[in-house]
Symmetry: D2
Subunit: 311 residues, 4 copies
């Protein structure tokens, strides 16, 4: 009864321009593990401490970006209930069911499009393949990890126009909390950005109001600590990966972070830190005049890339 | 709908032999903040990142130990529902209501005794006094913290005889998950210890089967990282606090930890690390022949103090 | 016989525009300790783990910058010998002796100007005031440190035109090693920058060839680890200090670093890490086409400020 | 002229009971690199950031322990001068020259025995094989390190009876500084232990007075930080290595440390931290009544193993 409903981000499906360099990036640089390839040629990957079959799906395409983001719910009954509520909410379009097996090792998924133009999915079944450690008397971490070696896929940040609609959907229909928000300096009711949690994490997804539909800012993966953020930064340089910004700290969520790009231009983040969220925690508000400090706490100013580059 | 029911440990009420040395320990060494004293002379404290009025209550008494542990639930309706379910479960005794105001800044609490002899409370209302930071454009941490400066009270470990009853109560009635368990080497159905979570934390409370009622092993507070565990260890020596064991790592929960004693002999822990728990995560099992490694991953053997000393 | 001759940077004398804001910066933000003020109004400061009376001297003036940098040698005999060698070298001008007591608690200093226009001093006597810890049975760190709390003044980076002359002076006359150098991509004999050590540190002073005399790039102070670099970065934002760049890593020296400015515009650095230098270690060479990565290993490009802003 | 005379520990030659398990330990667990084997079957190893051919030499024998420790001096002239001074000092016995080539890639070594019964060597030539990184535009660390991956062999701690003689030899003849000492509580002139440095490190070798000749307590290797000490501790458990004690901090040197044993029972240490030593730094003195805190700052008591187990 403690964690119910939507449990966590289950996968992000990304489009990449060339598959093999992308796979090499997500395995050798980021350090995910490849768990399968399907008949369509899609590549499935997971972070080491995840038990489910995959959390990242890569598809070769003509343009980079996010196809969809999937959410694991606690039961088939919840999947039925939430799919009905989403359909009835008037806050989602293109509702449909994707049959079981369309993703490897995954049950049926309820798919819909948010008012910001993002495709989301709910699912209740994805086979467990284990977290590289035994379930009896395990060590604390596995051998032979490569690259940055994050333990989990954590969240996405997405850009879209109808921020109010998507926030209403996630909070009122899907049961998420707003943990933090950025508002206009002169009108605190006008939200520029919203961070949403379905757990005790500072965010499971976040949206920034931008005049477009369905844009993808970044997918984020969690590291253990600030020392691993430095190691990730070093790996970025050693492997000649395109750096966006960092290492630094976010004001929002307090996370310790670094951003970089996959070979197709999709932005990745690895981060550590943050706080424990509870649903009765007051919302933290940032005003637009302090947006630089909210995003990049040390620099206290936004770089053009951060807002202007997305896929 | 994501975090529902029992949200978190809300307070631990400890008996101490001399009040002022205890307060000095919990403020100067551990680094909690005193938030009030009541007419009975009890002292209320909180960790800096907690919003609620208190998470530790100290009372002067002839013997050290834990009076009770309180749990924050998500609503008054949940408090009503769960109190009824606890009463009807047959797994709790001495059920009663403590009136609002008996604790400073706190609503009414439903109190009961577990089969292990521990007094537990459920509550839905405790006033928010803030986390030392503004709710608009905050810095990531406050100035002027003292001592180890943990961000939150995290969990307790308790000793008692009827482990099966208390586990049944916490899982079937209160909705907790078992995250990890220690079982007899020759009988995996015989549980020696159980770690329980009502959140995404590896534990919110844990019990070890011992032939006694209502014993208290330790109250634990969370730090940000392994560097802070070293700093805590240094503070323990600088301030001539009685060390139990550490710094080290737990096999169970993967936590990075150090144990020490307050002046009355109540054991404290500060720790960092661990993983993100979800309700569909498989239970991790440790066998009694590997108990040393489960508890103290580096030493791989238990010290006498750890099992034999409690209050 | 192991550490002989010039031992270490002993002090840097900085000009500041307003004395009290500068003192506040160097004590509250950087975390040095004020150890005295002299009749001229100069303020003396030291880092906590230094035993000598001071390592930073602040003087109010109309323009920011460095007055001089002082070097502690191992004995009065060495002071005599080196002063003679410097005078005879033809690589220094304006040689003179500053009488004992001109600096508080300091013996006589031999002063000279390098070919890059920097004033340097050699001295053999500065009174010891202790490192905030007892000499018998000490704790590993003192209480009540403020700000970033570096343990020592570490080095300066200086800009000047006649790089070859100053390098010849420091290596052939004063016995320093070149640890690393930046050279022109098309002419490895043309040095753009040289890092010099009189110890096992990766640098005790460094010079960059720039078309000017006597310019000051930064004074640097050493922290224990990368976690303290993050803490320093947070303090910079909390206290609204002007950030230059970081946290990041240097390619040169491998140091983990952050740059910021004092209220007068003098650049400060705090850093951690690096390697152990020995005189038989091969010189590490960086080519100018890779200068960005040499200086800022993660960004792999120089920001305009870093080269263009100095005092 | 800054670092002269004896520069650093150059090698430690250890006896092991079975060669291949020992090599596996020093490469897979500790993370040294094998650089050669000679006709006698000895195995040569180095830490990754060392440039010289080897720093550890393993020899199969009937009893574990240290054969000898070698010291790199700054020049052939220094080797001649120091060998003569050692011979004339009356503080060493069994003086002899080992011909060039007896160690792979190494010049002639001057060998002698200290009053504590330890065999020491001075040498001026050992071929450089590089530190796994290019000398032009290097990355800060190499790929494909295994195990704990220390950057350098750092020091040894040795047990012997005539402490005064060996200290006199190292300070008066070889030019080392005493950085710290343990003295009898009731007689501060009676030294129980002495820590000696030929550099800016807190120790390059240390001796403890014990009623025996030529005993070996441990060889120590340096890590970058406290996070790597935790990782080393985890590796010890993952690879089922015999742990002695740690992770913890030393009072002496302030180092962050963990001790463990190779398969033959030779004690190893990996550590991080400490301070920068200079020859004018006051000696830190520990009194025997505080010996526990001096050695293990957190536990503040010695474990029997630490003093009683050696090879």
């Amino acid at each position: 009864m403690a964690m119910t409903g939507v449990l966590r981000p289950s996968h992000v499906a990304l489009r990449v321009l060339d598959l093999e360099p992308a796979v090499k990036h997500y395995t050798d640089v980021l350090g995910l593990l490849e768990t399968g390839r399907d008949k369509q040629g899609r590549v499935y990957l997971k972070a080491w401490d995840e038990h489910d079959h995959h959390s990242v799906v890569l598809r070769e395409a003509d343009a980079a970006g996010m196809d969809y983001m999937g959410w694991r719910v606690d039961s088939i009954q919840t999947l039925k209930d939430l799919s009905k509520k989403v359909e009835e909410s008037g806050l989602a379009t293109d509702c449909c069911w994707i049959p079981a097996g369309e993703h490897l090792e995954t049950g049926e998924r309820f798919r819909f499009t948010t008012t910001t133009g993002h495709t989301m999915e709910l699912l209740a079944e994805k086979n467990k393949v284990g977290n590289c450690l035994p379930l009896v008397n395990p060590d604390p971490w596995p051998d032979d990890l490569k690259g940055m070696g994050p333990s989990r896929f954590d969240h996405c940040l997405l850009y879209g126009d109808d921020l109010d609609g998507v926030v209403k959907l996630f909070t009122e229909v899907l049961g998420f909390d707003i943990t933090e928000q950025v508002v206009a300096e002169d009108n605190h009711d006008f939200r520029i950005s919203v961070f949403l949690s379905c757990s005790t994490k500072p965010h499971d997804v976040a949206f920034i109001r931008q005049p477009m539909k369905g844009a993808f800012h970044h997918a984020s993966f969690i590291l253990d600590n600030w020392g691993e953020v430095l190691r990730a930064a070093d790996i970025i340089s050693k492997k000649k990966v395109s750096l966006d910004l960092g290492p630094t700290r976010h004001g929002i969520t307090r996370g310790e972070t670094i951003y970089f790009f996959d070979p197709s231009g999709n932005r990745n983040e690895v981060f550590a830190g943050g706080y424990i969220h509870y649903p009765d925690k007051p919302i933290i508000t940032w005003t637009s005049d302090d947006l630089g400090r909210a995003i990049f706490y040390h620099d206290r100013k936004l770089n053009e890339n951060f807002l202007g580059v997305f896929t």
